[in-house]
C-alpha cells in the first residue's frame, strides 16, 4: 500500500516566483504501476531535519500524452516541504514517490460529449491542468469552461501553457481569469485586448453564477471540478448548489489552507481500540493528537499518505463511539453516515472509540 519508489528528477521549471513544477523520470518497469488518471496526485516523502514527512502534490501532467510525470508545487508560508522542493531540489536528485492516488478524477473517454466546468485557484490549477489537457486532447467533442483565480497576473501558474491551449482549442475552451488584486498596468493591457478579459475579485457566488450564465453548457452532460483553498471550494460549491447543480456532478479537491469545522470538544485521553492487520491495539489518545498519529507514535504502521483529509488512504470504520474529522475532502456524506472516517483527521468525541482498518 504505502510503498515508495525512488524516482529521479528530470526537469525543474520555475512557474512563478514562488512555484515550481517537477518532472520525474519513470523507469520502464514502473509504467504500469504509475499509470494514473487526470486529477490524481503523487505522495512524496522527505526526511527533513530528521523527521520523515509526507506531502501529496497533484500531477499537472496528462496521462494521455507522451510526457513525464510532473507535479506543481507552490511555496506555502512556513511550509516545510513546499519550500524544500522549491528551494533545494535540483535536476538529478532522487525523490521517494508513492504511486498516483486520488479520487478527484474525471472519467475521460474519447466518445464523450460533455461540458466541463473547471474552477481553480492558485496552485489548485495543478490537477485541473491535467484534467483540462486530457479532456481537450482526448475528447474532441467536449467543451471546457474554466475560471482560474489568482491574486494577480504574476501569480498565474502555467501561464504559457494555458495561452497555448486557448489558441489551439479556441472553439471548445473558454478560460476566464479572476484576479483578486490585479496589477493595474497589466490589467490595462488586458482591457485593450478582447482575448484576455479577466474578472476582478475572488471566485465567489456571483462570479460563478455569472460565468455559467455567460457560458452555459453546450453539451448537456456537464460536470463541475473545483480545486483550490477550502473557502474557494465552499463558495463555488454553494454557488453551484444554489443554481441547482446536482451534487453528483460536482467534484472537489482542497488545496492550501484548510477549512476547520466548528470547534469540537475532543474527549481528553479517550481510549482507542484499533483493529489493524489482525492486531487489536488499545491505547490512550493524547489531547490534540489524531487517531492516526496516536497509532504511529505507538510504532504501529497504519495506512496513510496525504495526512490532509484528501486522499482517503487512512480510511477506517468506526465501530463504537464517535469521532470528529477536522477536515474531510475525500469521503461522501453517505460514507460518513455509514461510519467511515479518515483516521488522519479524526479526534475522539466519546470516552471510548473503536475503529477497524478494513
Amino acid at each position: 500500500m504505502s510503498k515508495f519508489y525512488k524516482l529521479q528528477i528530470t526537469d525543474l521549471r520555475k512557474e512563478t516566483a514562488d512555484s515550481v513544477s517537477v518532472a520525474f523520470d519513470l523507469p520502464y518497469e514502473l509504467y504500469n504501476e504509475f499509470n494514473y488518471k487526470a486529477g490524481q496526485y503523487l505522495t512524496v516523502k522527505f526526511t527533513i531535519g530528521g523527521e520523515e514527512v509526507r506531502r501529496s502534490y497533484s500531477l499537472c501532467s496528462s496521462p494521455v500524452m507522451e510526457e513525464p510525470l510532473r507535479i506543481g508545487v507552490k511555496k506555502v508560508k512556513g511550509g516545510l516541504v513546499s519550500n524544500h522542493i522549491n528551494d533545494s531540489l535540483k535536476v538529478g536528485d532522487t525523490v521517494e514517490v508513492m504511486v498516483p492516488e486520488g479520487r478527484f478524477t474525471a472519467d475521460i473517454k474519447e466518445g464523450n460529449y460533455k461540458t466541463y466546468y473547471l474552477f481553480s485557484a492558485g496552485s489548485g490549477i495543478t490537477p485541473i491542468l491535467s484534467i483540462l489537457r486530457t479532456v481537450l486532447f482526448r475528447e474532441p467533442r467536449s467543451y471546457v469552461h474554466m475560471i482560474y483565480g489568482n491574486s494577480n497576473q504574476e501569480s498565474i501558474m502555467f501561464q504559457n501553457e494555458l495561452e497555448q491551449l486557448q489558441e489551439q482549442y479556441f472553439d471548445r475552451f473558454v478560460l476566464v481569469h479572476s484576479l483578486s488584486r490585479p496589477k493595474s498596468k497589466w490589467s490595462d493591457l488586458w482591457k485593450s485586448s478582447k482575448d484576455k478579459p479577466y474578472l476582478k475579485g475572488r471566485i465567489d457566488k456571483k462570479t460563478v453564477s455569472r460565468f455559467i450564465g455567460e457560458y452555459p453548457p453546450y453539451a448537456q452532460n456537464a460536470e463541475y471540478y473545483i480545486c483550490g483553498p477550502g473557502t474557494m471550494i465552499q463558495n463555488t460549491k454553494e454557488a453551484l448548489k444554489d443554481m441547482d447543480v446536482p451534487g453528483e456532478r460536482i467534484f472537489t479537491e482542497s488545496f492550501g489552507g484548510q477549512t476547520e469545522g466548528a470547534d469540537q470538544d475532543a474527549w481528553e485521553n479517550a481510549t482507542l481500540i484499533a483493529h489493524l492487520d489482525g492486531e487489536k491495539i488499545e491505547v490512550n489518545v493524547p489531547k490534540g493528537k489524531t487517531l492516526l498519529r496516536t497509532l504511529i507514535s505507538q510504532g504501529k504502521n497504519p495506512p496513510y499518505s496525504c495526512e490532509g483529509g484528501v486522499c482517503s488512504t487512512c480510511i477506517c470504520k468506526v465501530k463504537n463511539g464517535k469521532v470528529h474529522m477536522k477536515n474531510n475532502l475525500a469521503l461522501t456524506d453517505e460514507e460518513v453516515a455509514d461510519g467511515y472516517a479518515l483516521s488522519c483527521q479524526s479526534i475522539p468525541l466519546t470516552e471510548s472509540v473503536e475503529i477497524v482498518y478494513e
Binding site: G111, N112, Y113, R141, I212, G213, P216, P217, Y218, A219, Q220, N221, A222, L240, D242, M243, D244, V245, P246
Partner: protein
C-alpha cells in the same frame, strides 16, 4: 397473409407503409430508441423555460435549470399519469400536477403530496426516496438543435450522430436566427397523407430531383451530387449550377451565410435517422421534421434560419434576388402547365411537388396491383439502405 402483404418496397413489405401494427413497432423500437428532434436551443432559452414534445410514444418535457443545464423528464405525473406541463412555458421552482397537485422539483424529485399522512400512510420517510420521482429522460444539443431520448441513460448523442457530423455543412447554426411568417409557428407545416417513410424516402431520393423538380430545384447541380451513409444516417451534398454559383452573392434569395467558405457553398441535405432532415443551403438553413401521425398521415414541420442581419439588409437582398435574371430560368417553374394556385404540379413550389408525389405513391400502396418495378442503383440506393436500417433497428430491439 394475403398476396399483397408479401409485396415488397425494396427491403420492407408494403404493409410497413399501411398498417397500424408496423407503426406501433416503429414507435416502440425506433422512435423510443433514438434521439428525437425537439426544437432549437433558443426554444428553451432561460432558466425555468420549458417545452414539451412528443417523441415517439413518449411525451417529454425539457426544462432549463438555473444552472443553465437542460433536464428532460417524461411529462407524466407518477400518481395517475396525468400530463404535467403544456406545450411551452416558464416553470417556477416546482412542477405541480393539475389533477391532484402532486408536486416535483426541477430535478424531478417528488416533494409534496396533499393529505400524504391520511391518504398514503405507506409512503414513509423522505418523499423523494419513495420511488415516485419523475422518470428521467435524456436531452442534449447537436448543431443548435435540441434532441431528447426517452432513456435516462441514453447512449451519448455523439455516439449517435458522431459519424455523420463530418459530412454536414460548415454552417454555424447558432449564429443564425429563425425566420418565420408567424411567431411560434414553423416556417412550413403540413399534414401529408402518406406514411412517414414515404416522406423520408422522397427526401433522400436523388433520382427524382432532375425530374419531379426539373423546374424548381434546378439551381443545384444534381449531376455533381455526392452522397453516402454514415452510421444510420444519410448525407448528401450538391454544388450550385455554374450559372448560379458565379453570381450567388446577388442571386441568393437571402444574405449568404457567412460561416460557409466560398468554395464550400452548396446544398448539404443530410437525413438524420430516423426522422429529421436538415437542409443547409447557401442562404438558409432548415430543419425538416417528419412526425408520424397514423400509418397514412404524417406531419412535416420545417423551421428555417437565416443570417442575423438587419431587416433592411435582408429586404435588400430579397429584392435584388427576386429581380435577378437567373430566376427566369431556374427555381420556380412548375413541371406542368396549369393553375399554380390549385395544381401542385404547376405551382413551381418544390414542396408542393413532393407532397403530391408522396400522396400519390401512398394511394397506390393499397392497390392489389402495386409493385415496385425497378430500383435506380445510384439514384435510389439511399431508399433501400434506409429501409434496411429500419429493419435492423426493429430487429435489434424487438427481442430485447
Amino acid at each position: 397473409m394475403s398476396e399483397k402483404n408479401k409485396t415488397m418496397m425494396h427491403e420492407l413489405p408494403v404493409e410497413a407503409y399501411t398498417s397500424q401494427e408496423w407503426l406501433d413497432m416503429e414507435m416502440k423500437y425506433i422512435f423510443s430508441k433514438t434521439w428525437q428532434f425537439a426544437g432549437f436551443v433558443e426554444d428553451v432559452a432561460e432558466p425555468g423555460d420549458y417545452i414539451s414534445v412528443q417523441a415517439g410514444l413518449n411525451n417529454i418535457f425539457i426544462v432549463k435549470g438555473r444552472d443553465h443545464r437542460l433536464r428532460a423528464f417524461h411529462n407524466m405525473c407518477r400518481h395517475r399519469g396525468t400530463q404535467l406541463l403544456r406545450a411551452v412555458g416558464k416553470a417556477k421552482k416546482a412542477i405541480s400536477c393539475p389533477y391532484h397537485d402532486w408536486t416535483y422539483d426541477l430535478e424531478g424529485k417528488l416533494i409534496s403530496i396533499p393529505k400524504r399522512e391520511e391518504e398514503f400512510p405507506q409512503l414513509k420517510g423522505e418523499l423523494h426516496k419513495c420511488g415516485l420521482n419523475l422518470h428521467e429522460a435524456s436531452v442534449d444539443i447537436f448543431k443548435g438543435m435540441l434532441f431528447v431520448h426517452p432513456d435516462k441513460d441514453a447512449p451519448s448523442i455523439m455516439e449517435f450522430f458522431g459519424e455523420v457530423e463530418p459530412y454536414l455543412g460548415p454552417h454555424i447554426v447558432e449564429d443564425l436566427v429563425e425566420y418565420s411568417e408567424n411567431d411560434n409557428e414553423p416556417f412550413y407545416s403540413r399534414e401529408i397523407k402518406a406514411n412517414w417513410k414515404i416522406v423520408v424516402e422522397n427526401y433522400i431520393d436523388h433520382y427524382h430531383l432532375a425530374h419531379l423538380h426539373e423546374g424548381t430545384l434546378n439551381m443545384y447541380d444534381h449531376a455533381r451530387a455526392e452522397f453516402g451513409w454514415a452510421g444510420p444516417h444519410y448525407w448528401f451534398y450538391e454544388p450550385l449550377v455554374p450559372d448560379y454559383a458565379k453570381d450567388v452573392k446577388n442571386a441568393a434569395p437571402y444574405p449568404l451565410i457567412d460561416s460557409v467558405p466560398e468554395d464550400k457553398i452548396g446544398a448539404y441535405v443530410p437525413w438524420l435517422f430516423p426522422n429529421i432532415g436538415i437542409t443547409e443551403g447557401e442562404s438558409s438553413w432548415n430543419s425538416f421534421h417528419v412526425i408520424p401521425l397514423a400509418p397514412d398521415r404524417t406531419l412535416v414541420n420545417i423551421r428555417t434560419k437565416v443570417m442575423n442581419v438587419s431587416e433592411r439588409e435582408f429586404t435588400r437582398q430579397y429584392t435584388k434576388s427576386s429581380m435577378h435574371k437567373l430566376w427566369s430560368h431556374y427555381g420556380n417553374k412548375g413541371k406542368y402547365e396549369g393553375d399554380p394556385e390549385t395544381d401542385p404540379m404547376a405551382s413551381g413550389d418544390f414542396m408542393a411537388e413532393d407532397v403530391y408525389a408522396c400522396e400519390q405513391q401512398q394511394k397506390s400502396l393499397y392497390s392489389p396491383k402495386f409493385q415496385v418495378g425497378a430500383q435506380a442503383q445510384r439514384g435510389e440506393y439511399a431508399i433501400s439502405k434506409f429501409q434496411s436500417v429500419i429493419k435492423e433497428w426493429i430487429e435489434k430491439y424487438k427481442d430485447q
